[in-house]
Amino acid sequence: MMGAGALFTIALTFGWLSLFAVGGAAAAIPEIHRIAVDLNHWMTDPQFADAYAISQLSPGPNVLIVSLVGYQVAGIAGSLVAMVSMCAPTAALAYGVSRLLHRAGSSPWPALIQKALVPVSIGLMAASGLIVAVAADGSRAAAVLTLIAAVVAAITRVNPIWLLLAGGALGFVGFL
């Protein structure tokens, strides 16, 4: 898929999705997967798992995974349009709201909304983990490696990049 039509589709898809991205990019992974793999067949499951891995390997906000999806659909232009349409509308909204609520401290509503949204966004993140794990469709060794990484990350404060590189090195030597 190429050309202006593809770019328009990308813009509409991610612009719409961004409005439902509560709890950040990690919580939006399941919907990105549903759109890119199940609905539009822009990429396969293994390609999606790779895109997630690459987005984690590169520095910057996790939302950049949408650029990898955009690239797959329409090259560099697709990559740019995906990122801008995923980020700009909600950034404009945040700008507007922050101007309105110059000081939100006294109102009980933000705290209440946050308390209600926290479990929703954690549920979404757990679903993200499951979906990427299933998309990667690994061996038993892959499950073991995932578990080890989870435990190490949960009990230590090691920089995530070292775990990602260690995972890559283990893959390189044929652990999986």
Binding site: S18, L19, V22, G24, S58, L117, G123, A136, T146, A153
Partner: protein
């Protein structure tokens, strides 16, 4: 207060340092290093950005940029945060499109993906702990329901949120009222 160039460089730096999320580095730069905000101001700003839709850290860059230098500040912080990593990720996408089928690269990426999923589970676990400790039944039910609807049943996000958010909000509100009365 910083000028536009300083703002751009600060956001570019925290973004390029941020593997697995930029928030920690943003807090370090804005609060500890440059002292552009107190810890409290930062937390308040982040809370606002967290409950609005969209990538939290991107929202934060815009809100912070606006406080410092108005609309121009917003645009500069947004561009600093997203521009440099965008170039990197696009270069990686081009490399992947070209060499993604090489067996060596396949093996490496499979290993990275395992570690990345493990990291995501660890972050989720850390966020979940306070809810489990509080034994907050409303939160636990909401969490599990959303996990099943999205992760297992693979329902579309907008529909799930349109039900889950008002339901969680109402339940939280009722639970608080009961405690208060």
């Amino acid at each position: 207060m910083p000028g536009l160039l300083e703002l751009f460089l600060a956001f570019a730096k925290m973004s390029l340092a941020g593997f697995g999320g930029v928030l920690v580095f943003a807090r370090r730069a804005i609060v500890d290093k440059h002292r552009w905000m107190t810890a409290n101001e930062f937390n308040e700003t982040f809370a606002l950005c967290h409950f609005l839709p969209g990538p939290n850290i991107v929202n934060l860059s815009v809100v912070f940029g606006a406080r410092i230098r108005g609309v121009a500040g917003s645009i500069v912080a947004f561009t600093g945060l997203l521009g440099p990593p965008f170039l990197i990720v696009t270069a990686l996408a081009m490399t992947y499109a070209r060499y993604g089928d090489l067996p060596v690269l396949r093996r490496v990426l499979d290993g990275v993906s395992c570690a990345a999923v493990g990291l995501l589970f660890a972050v989720t676990w850390r966020m979940m702990l306070p809810l489990l400790k509080q034994r907050d039944p409303v939160a636990v039910v909401a969490l599990i329901a959303v996990f099943i609807a999205i992760g297992v049943l693979r329902w579309p996000l907008p529909q799930v949120l349109l039900v889950a958010v008002p339901a969680s909000f109402a339940a939280t509100w009722l639970a608080r009222k009961r405690v208060a009365s």
